[in-house]
Amino acid sequence: MKLNKFKEYFMQGVFFLAACVSILAVAIICYFLFEGGLPAILKIGPLKFLGGQVWRPNNDMYGIFPMIVGSLYVTAGALLFGVPIGILTSVFMAMYCPKVLYRPLKTAIELLAGIPSVVYGFFGLVVLVPAIRSIGRTLGLGGNGNSILTASLLLGMMILPTIIGVTESAIRAVPSYYYEGALALGATHERAIFRTVLPAAKSGVVAGVVLGVGRAIGETMAVIMVAGNQPRLPNGLLRGIRTLTANIVLEMGYATDLHREALIATGVVLFVFILLINVSVSLLNRRDKNA
């Protein structure tokens, strides 16, 4: 009997410890990233690091401003393509889709979410890059296909499943009498959806978009394969660009000393961006629950 009681307490302790692992993980991730990156930021100078426009590790010049701009450009581009198509597709899935088609289409969207980013990147490399290159040539705009536009298109594809998934469940969570009431007042199907249902689902839609932003800004491999990766401020949509994520992967292999620390510091900047996005998502969710 006593042994049993001991076993109960022991296992309860084990469960408790397991639950602590995720807290511990976040703590050591924060600690090691900041410990690895902050000294470099201080050594280079925060303003010079964040605002410097030249990244030339050989000459000890570490300005990541072009990369910050690069990450923001491709993310904004991805939203431009991904958000309208994503939201409209989720409206289709929730309000238009014939019953027979629903299962296969839902599976297709899940597959879209499951495709590894290298495969997306490869697709971008062999299909989108040549296509954009020839469009650029025929229009006389130049560029070799590795560009902001290509990366934005590809990322737009990649954030679709995130946006569709979250938005669709937000639309489905709106009580059906919103829609029925609008119809009863003489609205068409479309008017009912876009004037009553979608506004009611607004916070869910926004959460989906913000999650999409998180995915786009953190994406690495696909972007590296299509964006050209030149660490300078771009002067056109068809010019290449380097993102924060790409900077880390491209140079970490051979970097030493301050260069290496500067790359870790690049990761810190990215991490802070992501934390801000996370916080805003959880704030959105909380407000949703209170309302």
Binding site: A18, S22, A25, L33, L88, I109, E110, G114, T188
Partner: protein, 277 residues
């Protein structure tokens, strides 16, 4: 069908936009999968599956074996921790506890962290500080942290969906808490947990950024967990960034896509089983 839009041109336009957007989404997916398959399948030669990688045959077999090893190792680390912490959250913790809030906050944070940050952390902590070097173990530990929130979340949902009457019945027959959890609650939650594990497998198979600087890129099967080895996704990245073996890269993409498709179908199948019960 178009008759009901008579006198509502605006609604007609909106309807066309909605259908058009859906068409774009599904055409893009279909095009991507079809393109990779059509271009890749003809390049699937037996030499691609020979046991040893040389620059001659560019075999993907070692990478495939590494992927299986990496998946198993990461799951062995992450699944017990994930399942146990879900048990704590659902069965033991008191509701509204501050500590629970902290766990939720940290798991949400872990979910949002991009894989390159995991890779960076894994390199700093497991590779350098712990001294594992570029190794299977460092890669698997990094991935284990990455999939932990996924395993926790799905297990939690599965445990919550077990009706309370099961627990009450078990207590009524005189079983203790621990016995109730392991003999009654956990067995009925298994399909849900399994579906989560399969999803996690999908993430591991497709992962690249978190592995390049933790597990390294050596193209052979390691003899111990302390040696470096590239998984299929890393292999694929190396091939396409070198640009020398595009045919093999197409073929590798086919294998990777087939793996992901298989994993997706399996998880759907398991989930369907779950809803039937």
């Amino acid at each position: 069908m178009l008759k009901k839009y008579k006198g509502h041109p605006g609604s007609l336009v909106v309807m066309l936009l909605v259908v058009g957007a859906a068409l774009i989404t599904f055409t893009v997916l279909l095009f991507l999968v079809a393109y990779v398959l059509i271009k890749g399948v003809p390049h699937l030669r037996p030499s691609l599956f020979s046991l040893y990688y040389t620059s001659e045959n560019v075999s993907l077999m070692p990478a495939l074996i590494n992927t299986v090893l990496m998946t198993l190792l990461s799951l062995v680390i992450a699944v017990p921790i994930g399942v146990f912490s879900a048990i704590f959250l659902v069965e033991y913790a008191k509701k509204g506890n501050r500590f629970i809030g902290l766990i939720r906050l940290t798991t949400e944070t872990l979910t949002g962290i991009p894989s390159i940050i995991y890779g960076l952390f894994g390199m700093l902590f497991f590779v350098t500080t712990c001294g594992f070097g570029f190794s299977l173990l460092a890669g698997a530990l990094t991935l284990a942290i990455m999939i932990l929130p996924l395993v926790m979340k799905t297990t939690e949902e599965a445990l919550k969906s077990v009706p309370d009457s099961f627990r009450e019945g078990s207590f009524g027959l005189g079983a203790g808490k621990l016995r109730t959890v392991f003999k009654v609650v956990l067995p009925s939650a298994i399909p849900g947990i399994l579906a989560g594990i399969i999803l996690a497998t999908g993430r591991i198979v497709g992962e690249t950024a978190a592995l390049i600087y933790t597990a390294g890129t050596v193209a052979k099967v390691p003899t111990s967990v302390m040696e470096s080895g590239r998984t299929l996704a890393v292999h694929m990245y190396n091939l396409s960034s070198e640009g020398l073996h595009m045919d093999q890269a197409y073929a590798t993409a086919v294998v990777l896509l087939a793996l992901v498709l298989g994993i997706n179908t399996l998880s759907g199948f398991v989930a369907k089983k779950l809803t039937k019960v």
